[in-house]
Symmetry: C2
Subunit: 291 residues, 2 copies
């Protein structure tokens, strides 16, 4: 019996089956088109296996309130065809097993805590910087939900004094996502990040915003470990610069050796690498089984 896992993204779905120790046994990828078409592939994939639980880490916004009548739905997403899609309901119809459902970034945070860079901690953040910026959080051993779920990618940031870019978030213009997501980089500099590798000013500015945001998260959530992944972070020069700005912005206020002396082990890459998302969904399945 396997754990089933879905990493449901805006452009692709990754489906996998794996073991209790987070090892992926088989995986397949489908493009995100319509719910009908994509889900047909998903269901077909899982029908090959005997499953004991399923975990879904999904793009959002999604309804995570178990007492809500739309629990398990994708809600007001800009991907219109997926709006009001009953994700958990659809999976339950075909697979009568426990189903864990959470945001893609919460899933990744859980996976990193179980099997990755945050192993042994009681709290961590998983941040992804790519098409959007999302952050999942574990606090006192539990995934953070609250009223809805965090939307940390949309916190306001203080502008760099030399940055004249207007920002590209449709809600807030120059919030973090509006200033530092992949599309923001492309819009500001006229080229994709991957084509700007040697332009130090690009990554210095990017680090200014990401380091600032992480400093805000530290002041607000005080996590034991911060994991940063996503396409934009593939620029290897970026993470060290981000760490430098985290320290700059905190300016000695948080007196803790994790920050003052061991920042390289405090703000880190995903221990599960590019598997953080799908292993996170496996972790959700495992958690659902235990509940």
């Amino acid at each position: 019996m396997y754990l089933g896992a879905i990493e449901a993204g805006g452009t692709k779905f990754v489906c996998a089956v794996g073991d209790d120790d987070g090892r992926v046994r088989q995986r397949e990828m489908f493009p995100t088109t319509t719910p009908e078409e994509t889900m047909r592939s998903v269901i077909h994939f899982f029908q090959q296996f005997e499953l004991k639980a399923i975990g879904i880490g999904s793009f959002g916004p999604i309804d995570l309130n178990k007492s809500s009548h739309t629990y398990g739905y994708i809600t007001s997403t800009p991907k219109r065809k997926w709006e009001s899609f009953n994700f958990v309901g659809e999976m339950s119809k075909h697979f009568p097993v426990p189903i864990g459902f959470d945001t893609d970034v919460n899933a990744a945070a859980l996976g990193e805590r179980l099997w990755g860079a945050a192993k042994g901690t009681n709290s961590c953040l998983y941040m992804t910087v790519g098409t959007g910026i999302g952050v999942g959080a574990i606090v006192e051993g539990r995934l953070l939900h609250g009223l809805l779920h965090p939307e940390m990618g949309h916190i306001l940031v203080r502008r760099h004094p030399e940055d004249g870019f207007a920002g590209c978030c449709p809600f807030h213009n120059d919030c973090l996502e509006g200033m530092a997501s992949g599309p923001a980089i492309e819009k500001r500099w006229g080229k994709k990040g991957a084509e700007l590798t040697n332009h130090t000013e690009v990554w210095e500015l990017e680090a200014f915003y990401l380091g600032q945001a992480i400093a805000q998260y530290i002041l607000t959530l005080s996590p034991e470990k911060i994991i940063v992944g996503g396409g934009v972070m593939k620029q290897t020069q970026l993470l060290p610069a981000v760490r430098r700005y985290v320290i700059d912005f905190l300016n000695g206020y948080i007196q803790h050796e994790a920050i003052l002396q061991h920042i390289d082990e405090y703000v880190v890459r995903p221990g599960l690498g590019d598997n953080a998302g799908i292993c996170g969904a496996l972790a959700l399945a495992k958690q659902a089984l235990g509940e």
Copy 2:
């Protein structure tokens, strides 16, 4: 048998005994002078009663890590005489009962959740705006600690374009506390807040900063209830303006009726009024007893 409670502040200590339902039976207040002198009064007060547990909500920074050898200490406080004071150790010597120890604002958050404005929720923030700005948080039913404890009063804020005040935080100059605490108001306008009641521009600017900060907290922690107390909030025109700015800064991004339709019941005054701190310490005692 009573619950004992200490609200340990930088200028005064409030000691009380109370019941399991949060009712204060007797209380006394002592100035915060030296640890020797103040603690003598504290111990003398509690020796009059039979106690089953004690809760301490303390100014900080404090060490809350139970596996640390300085657990229960006040650590690097600017109040030099209290630096490295073993608060829990000193109380334990005289009262061999379970002792709960947390930040003053975490205590207040717990009290408000048990008996006040956040009753029935699973997550809340308690924010106090006075000499400093502090915030305590309950997430998924538990007090948020993490690496250290949150220091949400020190998040960066975006300046109001017409505000030329440099800020007064010794670490960050113009962080939230540096721009919106009681001393910041006094330094910016040359008068104490209490003497500025009729100056609408003062409270509009104050609401701009507090509303902005609360919007950041909502994006990061997604609490079910936000409670705002402290001396500065005694200005009755302030809270409605703060709510207005919360909505402005979120700009429709968080689609939840609690914010869009019921902000008056979402960002609220303490249900326990001026007793939030001392009842919070009672709540810590109750929690310690249950552990």
